[in-house]
């Protein structure tokens, strides 16, 4: 089952110089696939991920997520779609430093508002528990180590049971030990829970262990 379809996506940067960053990219991602986007720096893989994430709407071509043409949606509707269907994990953790880990994990669910506060709290706890962080739940997120923060960010990405988890260099800022932990979590999510994952990485090791590698070069897919 196709969860995400990219149809001839092209994108051009005009500022500072005219530069075709993505050239006619097409591929599908199926449910449960653990896909990595690889390529050299500047090949457009991060740009592609932001296009796929619906945050960047300035491109040509079609992006279909869960059967929905994203081009037809307004910015606010796209935000709603991200909230419900996409979880993000970034290179630099990107937790809100004024909030506790638990609150950070709860935020997307509180925004979605499908469950009441108590239920969300319980769910957030269980997610943190899965990631082995339940004892850190009430600490301010800024007080945690990098590896722990990244795991909190994963828990936050999971809170709304998204269709897709998108990672932008999720291990880029971690040492090898933590990289392994995060990778194991991703693999576990993919194998045991059938979670769809799209991650940008330049870590060959990380990529080689994923289900599928899409390699970009100069804005074109050279392997998928």
């Amino acid at each position: 089952m196709k969860i995400l379809e990219a149809k001839s996506i092209s994108k051009k940067f005009i500022d500072p110089v005219d530069f075709q960053v993505l050239k006619n990219i097409s591929f599908d991602v199926n449910k449960g696939e653990f896909t990595t986007l690889v390529g050299k720096s500047g090949c457009g893989k991060s740009t592609l991920l932001y296009v796929l994430s619906t945050m960047d709407t300035d491109f040509q071509g079609q992006l279909i997520i869960d059967g929905q043409q994203t081009g037809e949606l307004t910015k606010d509707q796209l935000a709603g779609l991200r909230n419900e269907k996409i979880g993000f994990v970034f290179q630099f953790h990107y937790l809100l430093s004024d909030f506790t880990c638990l609150q950070n994990v709860m935020l997307p669910a509180l925004k979605l508002g499908k469950l009441d506060y108590k239920e969300i709290e319980e769910k957030a706890y269980s997610k943190l528990e899965v990631l082995g962080l339940s004892d850190q739940a009430l600490k301010l997120s800024s007080k945690l180590s990098g590896g722990q923060q990244q795991r909190v960010a994963i828990a936050r990405a999971l809170i709304n049971d998204p269709l897709i988890i998108m990672g932008d260099e999720p291990t880029g800022n971690l040492d090898s030990k933590n990289t392994k932990i995060v990778f194991d979590i991703f693999q576990e999510l993919s194998r045991s829970y059938g979670q769809t994952i799209i991650a940008v990485t330049h870590d060959e090791d990380f990529a080689s262990k994923s289900d599928r590698i899409i390699e970009l070069k100069d804005g074109e897919v050279i392997r998928s």
Partner: protein, 407 residues
């Protein structure tokens, strides 16, 4: 609690210092705004009060007329070279009827006839010039609150005593006259009459205290060798002094005499009052605006600090208007805290100032708690803080998360 409110609350609580500075700014602006505006109103009230001690809201009198050609003949322009004032009497004809016709007007509270004349006070060889007002004691007391200025004797004694006189404290001092002494008065018509002093008043306006005296209207008419229908002024007090000009016009139209409102009669004072109003409004609004800029700056700073947070919130599905709500909530919360603090502060300042003695005509510092000014302050304060929050929040809402993540 709504998630946006919760985030706003967290930002407020975790940035206690910034919040504190912003609140302090609003407290200061707000308290000065309320205090200065209350003070302005207090000044106005006190100056009106001191005006109304000697001036009625409306004075009806017969104005001097310039002589005109008797015949205004058809088409031809008649010219009088060197026209002069008509040497007619400045008396109101049939004052009783004029008074009763003014009384029928709805807004009118007190109408009283008055005869003013220039006089000399004589006591032994010493002589002082002055003005004597012939009044109806009861009505005049209600109009000018004369009894509140009496330092010796009473106005009651003037009632029904055609030989009684109330003199100013300055006159009393200069001629060393006390209650129950006699003073000889010479009028402009050369009439000499001895009056028994029944009271001494002190208005704290030294010019008045040194010259003015009150007698019964009948006695004043006698001093001018006139009958009891001779009335120079009809004084009118109305329910709302601010309507004076308006009602004066109506009275002038219905009676045919000149009716002058107190604002016209005290043009210099009114001009000073207007000027004061402009200055105080300008200064107090500026201070409040500066407080608004404080909030604006601090919020701008918060947004710059939290730009990563905003980007991540947007990535997680928070909409532009959610971001606006978060920061506007923050600004409005600061605004509410500042407004409440400002009201308390203003109340304290006013309470202290009310106890400061100025002296002279004014007495204690003329300031009161003005509910309208408090409300106005709340209104203006909240509007300014709202916009001080909304403008940077709008900017934050337009942040493109991708741009932040790329850095």
């Amino acid at each position: 609690m709504n998630i946006n409110t919760q985030i706003a609350k967290t930002y407020i609580v975790t940035n206690k210092k910034l919040t504190g500075v912003a609140v302090a700014g609003v407290v200061l602006g707000m308290s000065i705004y309320i205090f200065m505006n209350s003070m302005l109103l207090g000044f106005d009230k006190s100056s009106s009060k001191s005006i109304f001690k000697t001036t009625p809201h409306i004075r009806v009198y017969k104005d001097d007329e310039i002589s005109k050609p008797l015949i205004s003949s058809n088409g031809k322009q008649m010219l009088l070279i060197n026209p002069k004032i008509v040497p007619a009497k400045n008396t109101i004809i049939n004052p009783a009827q004029v008074i009763s016709s003014i009384r029928t007007m709805k807004e009118v509270q007190i109408v009283t006839a008055q005869v003013n004349t220039n006089i000399f006070y004589n006591s032994g060889k010493s002589q002082i010039t002055g003005i004597c007002s012939g009044i109806n004691p009861e009505e005049a007391d209600r109009m000018y609150a004369i009894s509140s200025t009496i330092v010796e004797g009473s106005i009651q004694a003037l009632k029904g005593n055609p030989n009684g006189i109330l003199i100013g404290s300055g006159v009393s001092e200069k001629m060393s006259l006390r209650v129950n002494d006699y003073v000889n008065i010479t009028s402009s018509k050369g009439v000499n009459k001895a009056f028994k002093i029944v009271g001494v008043f002190k208005t704290s306006n030294s010019i008045i205290d040194k010259s003015k005296s009150y007698v019964n209207i009948l006695a004043a008419q006698q001093l001018l060798i006139e009958s009891n229908v001779y009335v120079t002024d009809i004084n009118v007090n109305i329910s709302n002094p601010d309507d004076a000009e308006n009602i004066a016009t109506q009275i002038a139209a219905s009676t045919g005499y000149k009716a002058e409102g107190w604002e016209k009669a005290n043009e210099t004072l009114m001009a000073a009052q207007r000027m004061r109003k402009i200055i105080i409004t300008f200064v107090s609004t500026t201070i409040l605006l500066v407080a608004g800029f404080g909030i604006y700056n601090i919020l701008n700073m918060t947004i710059t600090q939290k730009i990563n947070d905003i980007a991540i919130l947007k990535a997680m599905g928070f909409k532009g208007k959610d971001v606006i709500r978060i920061f506007v909530t923050q600004a409005v919360t600061v605004g509410i805290m500042g407004v409440v603090g400002g009201m308390i502060m203003a109340t304290i300042i006013i309470t202290i100032l009310q106890r400061v003695y100025i002296g002279g005509d004014i007495g204690y510092f003329p300031i009161t708690y003005e509910p309208t000014k408090y409300l106005q302050g709340i209104f203006v304060g909240m509007i300014i803080t709202f916009f001080a929050g909304y403008i940077p929040a709008k900017k934050a809402a337009n942040i493109d998360p991708v741009e932040i993540f790329r850095k």
